[in-house]
């Protein structure tokens, strides 16, 4: 449940922040605080953060690409170069968002975690 909540909260708040806050990386701050708020073990926090932004960016990019009928993604995917594949561009996009959010969430998790091994 914690995993799902942090996933959902990160994705949702990141989307809202993207509308009102003019820093593309602000979702990292959100992922970080969500991981503090809803504490999970490192790998879980990372995965929740990663998936939150991976899914958010994937869905957004996919939706935009669908509405655009792939006009731009084909061009950008040959500019970058990803062989002109819009799917590759969407996946690369999603991975970048996921990676940053994952590490931000991991940082949040480490910040709050008590050193469990020592306590045992």
């Amino acid at each position: 449940m914690k995993f799902f909540n942090s996933f959902l909260l990160t994705a949702l708040l990141s989307f809202i922040a993207g509308i009102y806050i003019s820093y593309w990386w602000f979702f990292a701050v959100i992922a970080f605080f969500v991981a503090i708020l809803i504490h999970q073990k490192g790998y879980k926090a990372f995965t929740a953060g990663f998936l939150a932004l991976f899914v958010l960016w994937f869905v957004l990019a996919f939706w935009i690409d669908f509405a655009n009928e792939g006009v731009l993604s084909a061009k950008i995917a040959s500019l970058l170069p990803l062989g002109g594949s819009n799917w590759m561009l969407i996946i690369v996009t999603a991975c970048i968002g996921g990676l940053v959010a994952g590490f931000a969430a991991l940082s949040g998790s480490y910040l709050r975690s008590t050193n469990s091994k020592k306590q045992i």
Partner: protein, 814 residues
């Protein structure tokens, strides 16, 4: 807290963000660039995008409405003229902001700021070239002149306010794609940028000069031979002003310095190559026919300017409607007004005059400090301008340019432009340096009602020289070669001139009334296609370099055409007939001895023998013909020109063809490196045999068909293939009415029939949106390539509910 892992993880996170927020070489800041809510995804415009919107701005005087048709052409309706220019500025920025800024940055020599110095400092050199030519200097003088005129000042101020209103309301996510790619932001627009843009056009169009190249050639050939290579006129010339016209006595008398010829012969230069010059085929076609030659009884006006084919396009199509004027046509994103188009009463268009208004003078400085130069028997102080160049990723670069009485010393010890040598000083005198207000010719033409208004608009065009075409509903047609042209003595300014005194300076200017012009001629048509405007009876020296065959074939068609319709004009404007071949091919074939040809050679000869002399996309004959002629040219001139030290320019193709057609013994046919006396047959055969390997290669690559061989395209301004359209199936070419070369050609094809209700057609190779993520980015290209046209909707205020008005954008006063 687990401090160690936390620090590691936090460092990785911030490092990632930092790395993804930064441009690495040519790689954009990939995180910012790919963020779906900020980056390039935001430029992916929905295929069903809705352009209808209601806007409120403080810069407006009154309400304004814009109706977009299904091609995204805006029809702008305002209550006063200033608002029309405000809205035009806003729309130009909305759809074309990046190119407007990029082109004005190029004009101002500021590309290094965004692109860095480039490979082998090529971009920095481009910038230095622009500044040294005095582009900014010229633009600043032009702004002063423009702002002295209340009408042009009001238009520019409103336009600038419109552009800035768009920029100020622009969110980061809405930045055009190229800004995101190169990671920079637009700066505020101003009237200087409008002037810079217009100077950029002047440079593109008033660039034809070969002073240094001709000077180099002159060291090898005497005056008589030089005149044979670069003659003053041509046998098949069909000039703009019909042959046999009697010209009045010139009112400006010019006297050539007595030592002119000896000085030109004493020129010495040393080897350097390559130069930043405009395409020498920057030209155009335009013509108008009177009602006596048309089916409708109304005049038809046609124009297609041939320029570099870029994306986003140089042109933006639109209609401006105010209580004072109603004008439709192609506008320049970067300047107010319609440039080529029509209004309720008349239509107008332009082709390039190709006259030489840019000359070089050799300056003698006292020493390398360039502070004083010798002029009229005294040392005169030069103005030293220090130009600062911001260079992305490097420290600033400083360049000192000396300004003399002639103009800036463009080439000196620190800058050769890969054209001059680094041990001499060449100052440039360019007509575009003089204060002028070119915008007013468009402003006046947009409002012109009759022939008198047209004539009143012309004097504002000072540079570049244009063949200004006009037709009105009353049935008038006219063409006027207009600019403030220096009156030159024969060959003045064809070579670099001495700058040590005033004797070689321009002595006066040709009055407008004495510029070549034709009004309502008996033959029922006027036309121009960059050919010489007049025959040798004209009392002033023309200079420059000119096309020949397009004008010749256009006039031949127009003479023979009657009952002309707009469909006929569409066919004529896209005509692929190769009249050069009509002259040259018989000479080539006559001098070919088939018995001396191998199997492959015979095969190609048979193709070219049965060729229909059309540059249609699928023809193979034209590829063979073009290569054959190229190779004959080298056979004829190669030996003589190999002695020229430094840059040079080949004689025009028609000069060689006319010499061969004349069938006299053309002295350059003989190869000076062999004891034998070569004949026409020798060079024709040798040329053919040397062309065959090129043709075999093309055949092996499946590129013998003309459109594949020529391989035309429309390139993005940054030359990025992903944002360009390559490999278009189009015919035409050099010397053809359909003047489409590889990346150069008809940039706006327009046909206007001046019936009571105007009937107009046009197309350009691009699209209304400059956004590569929009379906309107390249939506006209296929139609253009196929030689087809759009019927233009000259919207009337009563059409506001018409279904053709697809989206409505309203502007309200805030």
């Amino acid at each position: 807290m687990r401090i160690g892992p936390f620090i590691i993880s936090a460092v990785i996170t911030t490092g990632l963000i930092y790395g993804l927020n930064k441009k690495w070489g040519t790689i954009p800041p990939i995180g910012k660039f790919l963020s779906p809510q900020f980056g390039v995804w935001q430029n992916a415009e929905s295929a069903n995008a809705d352009f209808a919107t209601a806007l409120k701005f403080s810069g407006l005087k009154d309400k304004a409405e814009v109706y977009f048709d299904e091609r995204l052409v805006p029809h702008v309706f305002t209550q006063n003229d200033e608002d029309a220019y405000f809205v035009q500025g806003y729309l130009h920025a909305k759809f074309r902001l990046w190119q407007m800024e990029f082109q004005t940055k190029a004009a101002a020599g500021r590309l290094s700021e965004i692109l860095g110095p480039g490979k082998d400092t090529s971009i920095l050199n481009f910038d230095r070239n622009m500044r040294r030519l005095g582009m900014v200097y010229a633009a600043k003088r032009s702004v002063e002149e423009t702002e002295n005129n209340p009408e042009s000042k009001a238009a520019c101020d409103a336009y600038t306010a419109g552009v800035n209103t768009y920029i100020e309301n622009l969110k980061e996510s809405e930045l055009p794609l190229e800004y995101k790619l190169l990671d920079y932001k637009p700066e505020k627009w101003n009237n200087l940028k409008i002037a810079l843009f217009l100077k950029y056009m002047s440079l593109d169009l008033a660039g034809p000069e070969n002073d240094i190249e001709y000077s180099n050639v002159k060291t090898v050939f005497d005056s008589a031979d030089f005149d044979k290579l670069y003659p003053f006129t041509q046998d098949s010339l069909d000039p703009i002003v019909p042959k046999g016209t009697v010209f009045p006595e010139p009112t400006v008398k010019v006297i050539a310095p007595a030592n002119a010829d000896s000085i030109f012969s004493a020129w010495k230069n040393s080897t350097v190559i390559n130069d930043i010059k405009s395409d020498k085929d920057n030209g155009s076609n335009n013509w108008a026919v009177t009602g006596t030659k048309t089916q409708s009884g109304a005049p038809i006006l046609c124009n297609d300017p041939h320029l570099s084919l870029n994306m986003p396009s140089l042109w933006y199509e639109m209609q401006l409607h105010t209580p004072n004027f109603n004008s439709y046509g192609a506008s320049f994103p970067g300047a107010p007004s319609i440039v080529i188009g029509f209004n309720d009463s008349c239509a107008w268009g332009f082709t390039n005059a190709m006259r030489d208004v840019r000359d070089y003078y050799e300056i003698k400085f006292k020493d390398d400090s360039k502070q004083e130069y010798w002029f009229n028997n005294a040392w005169k102080r030069a103005d030293l301008h220090i130009d600062t160049f911001k260079v992305a990723g490097q420290k600033d670069f400083y360049d000192t340019v000396a300004y003399t009485i002639f103009g800036p010393v463009m080439y000196d010890k620190s800058y050769s432009g890969k054209r001059a040598t680094n041990d001499r000083y060449f100052a440039v005198r360019w007509k575009a340096h003089d204060p002028s207000n070119e915008l007013m010719i468009f402003y006046k033409l947009n409002r012109a009602k009759n022939l008198d208004d047209y004539k009143a608009a012309l004097p504002y065009l000072s540079c570049p020289g244009q063949n200004c075409l006009f037709a009105d509903k009353r049935g008038n047609i006219a063409i006027w070669q207009q600019a403030v042209f220096p009156a030159k003595w024969k060959r003045q300014g064809d070579f670099v001139m001495p700058g040590t005194d005033s004797s070689f300076m321009w002595q006066g200017y040709i009055p407008m009334e004495e510029n070549p012009h034709v009004i309502n001629p008996e033959r029922g048509f006027v036309s121009s296609a960059n050919q010489l405007p007049v025959d040798t009876a004209y009392p002033y020296y023309i200079g420059g370099h000119h096309d020949l065959y397009r004008g010749y074939i256009i006039n031949r068609y127009l003479r023979n055409m009657n009952g002309i319709t707009t469909a006929d004009m569409q066919r004529l404007q896209t005509e692929n007939y190769n009249v050069l071949a009509e002259f040259a091919l018989p000479v080539l074939l006559k001098n070919t001895d088939e018995s001396q040809l191998s199997g492959d050679e015979k095969k190609f000869l048979d193709i070219v023998k049965t060729w229909n002399k059309r540059n249609d996309p699928g023809e193979k004959g034209v590829t063979i013909f073009a290569n054959w002629l190229d190779s004959v040219e080298v056979e004829i001139y190669g030996d003589e020109f190999s002695k020229v030290d430094g840059n040079f320019i080949w004689p025009e193709r028609y000069t060689m063809v006319e010499a061969l057609v004349r069938d006299s013994v053309y002295i350059f046919i003989d190869n000076i490196n062999t004891p034998a006396l070569e004949t026409t047959a020798d060079v024709v055969m040798a040329g053919f045999k040397k062309a065959v390997p090129v043709l075999l290669k093309a055949e092996a690559d499946n590129k013998l068909e003309w459109s594949k061989y020529k391989d035309a395209g429309v390139r993005h301004l940054l030359r990025l293939p992903a944002l360009s359209r390559y490999h278009l199936v189009v015919g035409g070419g050099q010397n053809i009415i359909n003047a489409t070369k590889d990346f150069h050609g008809p940039s706006w094809r327009m046909i206007v029939q001046l019936t009571d209700k105007i009937e107009a057609y046009a197309v350009y190779p691009g699209g209304q949106s400059g956004n590569p993520g929009s379906r309107y980015y390249d939506s006209f290209i296929d139609k253009w390539a196929a030689g087809k046209y759009y019927s233009l909707w000259f919207m009337h205020p009563s059409d506001k509910l018409d279904r053709k008005a697809k989206w409505k954008m309203t502007f309200d006063k805030l």
